[in-house]
């Protein structure tokens, strides 16, 4: 079973990353409105672009009792987790994510937590079902 991040999911994650920029922007707007607009455009553009590129490269594989997820273009990271010890799966769906037909899946195991952001909602449901022993 292969899992990839959907384009809409990556966009939603990019929008989430815009929130810290929005929170910081009043401090820059206070200096000058032009600098504020520039800062906001730069932050939001960078957040959406980074999420698009990084999450676009996300590839999850569930096979042979192992969940492996790799992501990143320049700085590549990957995580491998034995499915036998997975203690819980959380699927997060906000109104925005539901509208974009995407989900965030958090996989818990005693040794750590793995976050799979911006998955297609159907893929997320299939993954959750597979990791929790076939239960819907």
């Amino acid at each position: 079973m292969e899992i990839r991040c959907s384009t809409a999911g990556a966009l939603a994650m990019g929008l989430w990353w815009c929130v810290p920029g929005l929170a910081l922007s009043p401090f820059v707007f206070w200096q000058s409105p032009a600098a504020g607009i520039l800062f906001l455009l730069g932050w939001c553009g960078a957040a959406i672009l980074t999420c698009r590129v990084r999450l676009g490269s996300l590839l999850g594989r569930l096979r042979a009792g192992e969940l492996s997820v790799s992501r990143g273009v320049l700085f590549q990271t990957s995580c491998r987790m034995p499915t036998r010890f997975i203690s819980g799966v959380t699927r997060v769906e906000t109104p925005l994510l539901r509208r974009l037909h995407a989900s965030v899946v958090v996989v818990h195991s005693p040794a750590g937590t793995l976050i799979l952001p911006g998955l297609d909602a159907d893929d997320a449901r299939r993954l959750e079902s597979a990791l929790t022993g076939g239960r819907p």
Binding site: G65, E66, L74, F75, Q76, T77, S78, C79, R80, M81, P82, R84, F85, S87, S109, P110, A111, G112, L114
Partner: protein, 463 residues
């Protein structure tokens, strides 16, 4: 529907639990009192005392009510803890999830006949602390993890005890503890209390100054004092220290002022860490620390073994594989990753030494020390460059070797419940290398630098 089980044993916490709750409020009461005492304003002091007496009475009443509604119930398969008055909280720990039971008794608890029991589960942050009467604590520990009845495996005496004390001494933690306690004493009671300590320290430094230059004398005094204090702490912690194993339970207990007893379920041991510290290198005796579930290697090693003689460790942990030689090919291995910190420190120290020889010859002696320490760090980095790696042995145990500062860690990972995280920078990708991090259930992370990427990606997770 099944009938509710009746508990085998149940009880309430020791009254010291309410003092534990009261302690938090007491700290806030003391601050205005100390302020009034320092300014010696008697009318305001009486006012503060009256206010605090009322606050303390109210806090004591709340603590007592909370204590009355807090307790534990032991069932054959689980332990239940309940607490709270308005917001009732119930925690359940299944016996199958229990990894370690730790009983500690400091002098205050010994005086009141109480014991602090800490239960460590198999998952991260699954830790429960109880304050129970001494006998109830022992009975609970006996029921959860029965103690071994075989003679002890490790009972350090004579020279072995001396090496155990020296290897267990931790100068850094003692230094931090001393600094924090001195600062807190000064904050609470004023600088006048610590003045005699400072005076004696200055006298000692003046004595050392007779032999070595002034700048180095302070350093020698500090190192001598800290080393002495850490040795004393270690000596007190290791009084009557014994380790035994039978029936799948490892028992270690000891200590003079702070009495500690740990019962570790052998099947729950996730990793065994052999730490090759500078002192261990000099004595050729290596301390061993165990991690099990959420329990992360305590303050004292479980045992110390002589170089090359791993029989004792094999008897304690039969699956243990002694650390081997290099497991990684050095072609393409990133040298800057290993040497940048220690190398930068050495270069900076040498530059300072050069400048001092030219401009300030008086402090040259003092600057030799950081040069020697940095050179030692470079040597440890070189050892790490040669030995760092992770490999599954024929016994299907994962052995991980890595270096941090002056210490080399040789870790045997027994549990299959681990995660692997790989990180590859663009430079590492170009030579097929990556950093491998092994995540343990105790929350510990073992990071091995610049390993072969293909081998790391195909390292078997399951035993």
């Amino acid at each position: 529907m099944t009938a509710p089980q009746t508990p085998v044993v149940q009880g309430r916490y020791h009254i010291v639990y309410s003092l534990h709750l009261l302690k938090k409020g007491l700290f806030f009461c003391l601050v205005p009192l100390v302020q009034a005492l320092i300014s010696w304003d008697l009318p305001s002091l009486y006012g503060v005392l009256r206010q605090e007496a009322l606050i303390l009475l109210a806090l004591a009443a709340v603590s007592l009510v909370l204590w009355r509604n807090t307790g534990w119930r032991q069932y054959p398969d689980r332990l239940e803890l309940y607490s709270g008055v308005l917001l009732r909280r119930r925690r359940v720990l299944r016996r199958s999830e229990l990894a370690v039971v730790e009983i500690t008794r400091n002098p205050f608890l010994q005086l009141l006949g109480a014991a602090r029991v800490t239960l460590y589960g198999c998952r991260v942050r699954q830790t429960i602390t109880l304050y129970l009467p001494r006998r109830a604590a022992t009975a609970l520990a006996d029921a959860l993890l029965p103690p071994p009845h075989k003679p002890p495996l490790f009972k350090p005496v004579g020279g072995q005890r001396l090496s155990f004390v020296m290897v267990s001494a931790n100068v850094i933690s003692t230094a931090l503890l001393l600094t924090v306690s001195l600062r807190q004493t000064e904050e609470m009671l004023g600088a006048a209390v610590t003045l005699p300590i400072r005076d004696n320290l200055t006298r000692l430094e003046q004595l050392v100054e007779q032999v070595v230059p002034a700048g180095v004398a302070w350093l020698f005094t500090a190192v001598f004092l800290l080393w002495g204090a850490s040795l004393l702490v270690s000596l007190l912690r290791t009084v009557g220290f014994t380790v035994a194993r039978s029936g799948g339970v490892i028992l270690c207990h000891g200590g003079f002022i702070l009495r500690t007893e740990r019962r570790i379920l052998a099947a729950a041991v996730s990793a065994c860490d052999v730490r090759v510290t500078p002192v261990a290198r000099l004595l050729r005796r290596y301390p061993v620390y165990l991690t099990a579930g959420s329990y992360q290697a305590g303050d004292v090693p479980i045992l110390v073994y002589k170089k090359g003689q791993t029989d004792l460790l094999q008897a304690l942990m039969p699956g243990f594989e002694p650390p081997g030689g290099p497991t990684e090919n050095r072609i393409g291995r990133s040298a800057p990753m290993f040497f940048w910190k220690s190398g930068a420190c050495l270069t900076f120290s040498l530059a300072l030494l050069g400048v001092s020889m030219w401009q300030l010859p008086a402090v040259t002696g003092l600057l030799v020390i950081p040069c020697v320490l940095s050179a030692a760090a470079v040597l440890v980095s070189a050892e790490g460059y040669r030995l760092e790696g992770a490999v599954r042995t024929p016994g299907r145990v994962l052995t991980v070797q890595y270096s941090r500062l002056f210490t080399r860690h040789c870790v045997c990972v027994f549990t299959p419940d681990i995660n692997f995280r790989l990180f590859a920078s663009p430079f590492a990708q170009s030579v097929g290398r990556c950093n491998l991090t092994v995540q343990l259930p105790c929350g510990g992370r073992l990071r091995v630098r610049s390993v072969n990427r293909y081998r790391a990606a195909h390292l078997p997770l399951e035993i």
